[in-house]
Symmetry: C2
Subunit: 153 residues, 2 copies
Amino acid sequence: MNSHLSSARPFPERLIVAANRLTRIAALATGSTTPASVWRSLSILETDGSLRIGELARRSRVTQPTMTKLIQGLAEDELIYRIADVADSRAWLIAITPKGTAALDAWRVEVGAALAPTFEGLSAEESEILERAVAILEERTETARVATRDEVA
Amino acid sequence: MNSHLSSARPFPERLIVAANRLTRIAALATGSTTPASVWRSLSILETDGSLRIGELARRSRVTQPTMTKLIQGLAEDELIYRIADVADSRAWLIAITPKGTAALDAWRVEVGAALAPTFEGLSAEESEILERAVAILEERTETARVATRDEVA
DNA sequence: CCCAGCTATATAGTTCGGCTATATACTTGA
DNA sequence: TCAAGTATATAGCCGAACTATATAGCTGGG
């Protein structure tokens, strides 16, 4: 009954390898030198709203110093801006700017175009499966989850 | 009528972000310092058989010098070995060792365990979708494809 | 009301993966 | 047999992300 030998191995590790390859394909195809962490962070700011640096670092899964530096670059490029946290003057709230949203959208278009050959000629059924798989993955990797089960580091 | 707002945007770029997050989650959860390129390369050697350095570099989507260096480390750890190419003394054939296969398997188990919480409590239907999605992705990111449409660099 | 201890961000310094440019060794065809 | 091309190796650089630590601000018990 089971002619799908590939199913013999659980999917998580196969998914990781495939994800890895996809990431590599996209990076090479777009030729973008911008680190993935930038797009990860911007998309988190877009969906989760403004956040403190520490919290953004946690959700983006990098350390706080890494995020501080990342933020500095993004601020220079005016893709994000800092709002003083009135309740705590040590902290900043980081928010995405319209320019940041535009950059994110442009990147998405670029990635979409770069991956077009890879996903060329998918059947309607295959597209449907990928669409639904993405939805599941998005739900399962939701950034808000990180906050509750942190303490990893 | 359309409550699936997420479907409004095509999946490739969403898939990239999700893939990226998964990679990050896996990397953090395993705490592995081993670069992804190692596992990518080893799994290519496992599925595609022994390859020249240049060809392995292409399929692993790194440059040749990067692969040369990577190979040196893997050889020291005895995860791969070099076979002199009888037809061309400039070239080497790189092959995975039993120890390399074992390391790859161990990593897979580790990643599987690390991602278990992320994929906990999936319904049978969701699992089915992910399984099939992985199969599609594997097919679409197959390394042998790279060789034919290279010339990117 | 003030200081010890905690928390939020910033800075310093290191490590390491991956890249480009180039050298070296070998092959091949005219 | 040698010029041009190809396969791998070496050198040097860049930058992302880490750990350790400094600085500044908050907060509660005495």
